[in-house]
Symmetry: C2
C-alpha cells in the first residue's frame, strides 16, 4: 500500500512540486526554475532529479510511492501526451512516458487548468462534489470541468476551455485565441479593466476609478464603496459570467461551481453579481448548485496533479 504521491505543476517560469500522503495532506512543497531553452528538453529531467532528491532526502522507500502527477499548460490528451505547449517550448511530447522512464514510477498528466479543478474538488472549494466547474479569473479566464470525479479532457485535450466560449456577437477586439467575443474578454482581470475603461471613456459620471490606474482590484474595491460606475461594471461582468456558467451548467449539471484566480480575492461579493444571472438562465434541474470561492490558490495544481495519480490506483 502506497503512502506518498508527488504533485507537479509546470509553469512558464517555475515548476511547483508537492509531496503528499495518500490522504491528501501536503507534507512538503518546493519550487525549481522552468528551463524552457532547447525546446524545453531540460524540464522533465529537472523534475525527475528534483523528485529523486526529495525521495532520498526524506528516505522514502520507492515501493511506498504511488507515483507522480503532472499539470502543464497546453492541450494534454487522456494518454498524457501534450500537443504543443508554447510557453514551455514543447511540441508533441508524452509527458507520461518520458517522466516514467526517468523516475520509474507511474506518471499521469493533464492540462494545468483542468488539473487545478481536480485539486479544488479534492481538497479545495469544491470538496465533497464529484461534478464541478472551476473558473479561474486571472489575466485570462481558465478553468476545468470535472464529471463524475474525472477531468473532462475531450477528444484532443482541449476540453473545458471556459474562457473561450463565445458570449458576445459584434465584438471588435480580438481575443488572444484569435476569436472575438470570448468570455475572457469580459470576465478576466484584463476584461474587467477593459469594461471599466470603456465606461469611463463613454460617460462623464463621477467615479473613484478616475483617480489612478484601473484594475479588477480597484473596480471591486470601488464596488464595495458603492461607486455607481463600478457597480455598472460589476453588473456587466456578472451578466457575462453568470450567463456563461448557466449555459455550461445546463450541459454539465454540476454540484458545485468554484471561482478562483486573482479576481476571486474580491471575495463573496463577486458571487452576488454572478448568481442572479446564473439562476435566471440555467435549466431548473441545475439551479441548486453550490457556489464557492477557490481555497487552494496556487497550490490547486499540485493537489490536482497528485489526485490524478491517486485515481490511477483504483
Amino acid at each position: 500500500m502506497s503512502q506518498y504521491v508527488f504533485g507537479v505543476d509546470i509553469g512558464g517560469t517555475t515548476v511547483k512540486l508537492g509531496l503528499f500522503d495518500t490522504e491528501g495532506n501536503l507534507l512538503d512543497k518546493w519550487e525549481i526554475p522552468t528551463r524552457t531553452e532547447e525546446e524545453g528538453s531540460h524540464i522533465l529531467p529537472d523534475v525527475a532529479d528534483s523528485i529523486k532528491s526529495k525521495i532520498s532526502e526524506k528516505q522514502i522507500a520507492i515501493e511506498d510511492i504511488a507515483g507522480a502527477g503532472v499539470g502543464a499548460p497546453g492541450p494534454i490528451d487522456g494518454e498524457g501526451v501534450v500537443h504543443k505547449a508554447v510557453n514551455l517550448g514543447w511540441g508533441t511530447l508524452s509527458i507520461k512516458n518520458t517522466l516514467e522512464d526517468l523516475i520509474h514510477l507511474p506518471v499521469m498528466a493533464g492540462n494545468d487548468a483542468n488539473v487545478a479543478a481536480l485539486g479544488e474538488m479534492w481538497k479545495g472549494g469544491g470538496q465533497g462534489s464529484r461534478n464541478l466547474i472551476l473558473v479561474t479569473l486571472g489575466t485570462g479566464v481558465g478553468g476545468g470541468i470535472i464529471i463524475d470525479g474525472k477531468i473532462l479532457t475531450g477528444s484532443t485535450g482541449a476540453g473545458g476551455e471556459i474562457g473561450h466560449i463565445h458570449v458576445q456577437d459584434g465584438e471588435t477586439e480580438t481575443c488572444g485565441c484569435g476569436n472575438r467575443g470570448c468570455l475572457e474578454q469580459y470576465s478576466s482581470a484584463t476584461g474587467i479593466t477593459r469594461l471599466a475603461n470603456k465606461r469611463l471613456a463613454e460617460s462623464d459620471k463621477q467615479s473613484v476609478l478616475r483617480q489612478g490606474e484601473v484594475s479588477a482590484k480597484t473596480v471591486f474595491d470601488a464596488v464595495k464603496e458603492k461607486d455607481e460606475l463600478a457597480l455598472e461594471v460589476a453588473e456587466e461582468f456578472g451578466k457575462y459570467l453568470g450567463n456563461a456558467l448557466a449555459v455550461i451548467a445546463t450541459v454539465v449539471n454540476p454540484e458545485a461551481i468554484v471561482i478562483g484566480g486573482g479576481v476571486s480575492k474580491a471575495g463573496e461579493i463577486l458571487l452576488d453579481y454572478i448568481k442572479p444571472y446564473y439562476e435566471k438562465n440555467v435549466f431548473q434541474g441545475s439551479r441548486d448548485v453550490k457556489f464557492a470561492l477557490a481555497t487552494l490558490g496556487n497550490d490547486a495544481g499540485i493537489y490536482g496533479a497528485a489526485k490524478l495519480v491517486m485515481d490511477l490506483k483504483k
Copy 2:
C-alpha cells in the same frame, strides 16, 4: 460469454423494445403500449413480461443474456433512479432495481435523450467517436453528450439539457421549462415555425411560405427553392444552433456532432447553415469536428439502451 442484450425505450404512448446480439446487430424489434394509468405502475411489469415472452419465444438461455438497458424520459441518475417522469406518471423510482427484481437480469437505465446519443455513437451517425454531442431537433430540442464513451449524466441526472441553454436575452415568450430565451425556442421544429411566422408577419416580402401552413418542413423545402424569406429563417436558425454548439464544443471538445430529430430530415442542407457559425465561434482546438446526421431514427433509443448494458460488462 453473453450473446444477447435487450434495449428498451419507454415513451409516453409506446415502449419500443429491441433484441440485439452483443455485436450490436438488431435481431428483432417490437412495441407494446405504455400504460401510464395508476402512476405508471404497470409499465415496468409490462416490459418484464414482454422481455420474458421474447426469451421464451426465441428459446434463449438466461445465461446467454447480458441484461436489459432502459431509456426513459426524465432525469435519471447514475444509479438508474428516475426523479419524476411526468409523462409516465412516475415519481422517484429505481428503474434498475425494480426491473432487475422482475427479470432477474442486470439492468441499466438512463435518460432517453442521453441514451439516444449513446446509440448514435455506437451504431449511428457518430460511429467511431468516443466524445460526441447529439442534438435532436423535434417538437423540442433534446440531446445528449457522450464523454469518453460514457453519458454525461450530471449530479442529478439533468446533464446534457442542450435544448434549454440560454441563447437570447430579452425573449418575451416563455419556454416549456419556464425560462425565456432557450435554444429550443429557436431551433426546434416549433421554434423554426415561430421564427418564420414572425418574419412573415413583420415583412411584406413575397414567399412561398405565405401559401399555406408553415412548418419546419415547408421552411426547409422553401430554402431548397431559394425562397428569400425562408433563407433568412434558415440563417437565423443556424446562428442560434451553430453558436450554441460552438459553446458546448468549446467545453466538451467532441470528435463528432450529430444532428437528429424530425427537422434533420431536411438533410445535409441543415449543416450548411449551422457550420459557418460553429466554425466562427468555437475555440480553435475544437474546430475540427465531424458533423453528421443521425442515422438510427427512432431506433437510437433501443440501440443506446442496449449499449448501456454492454458497457456494464466491461
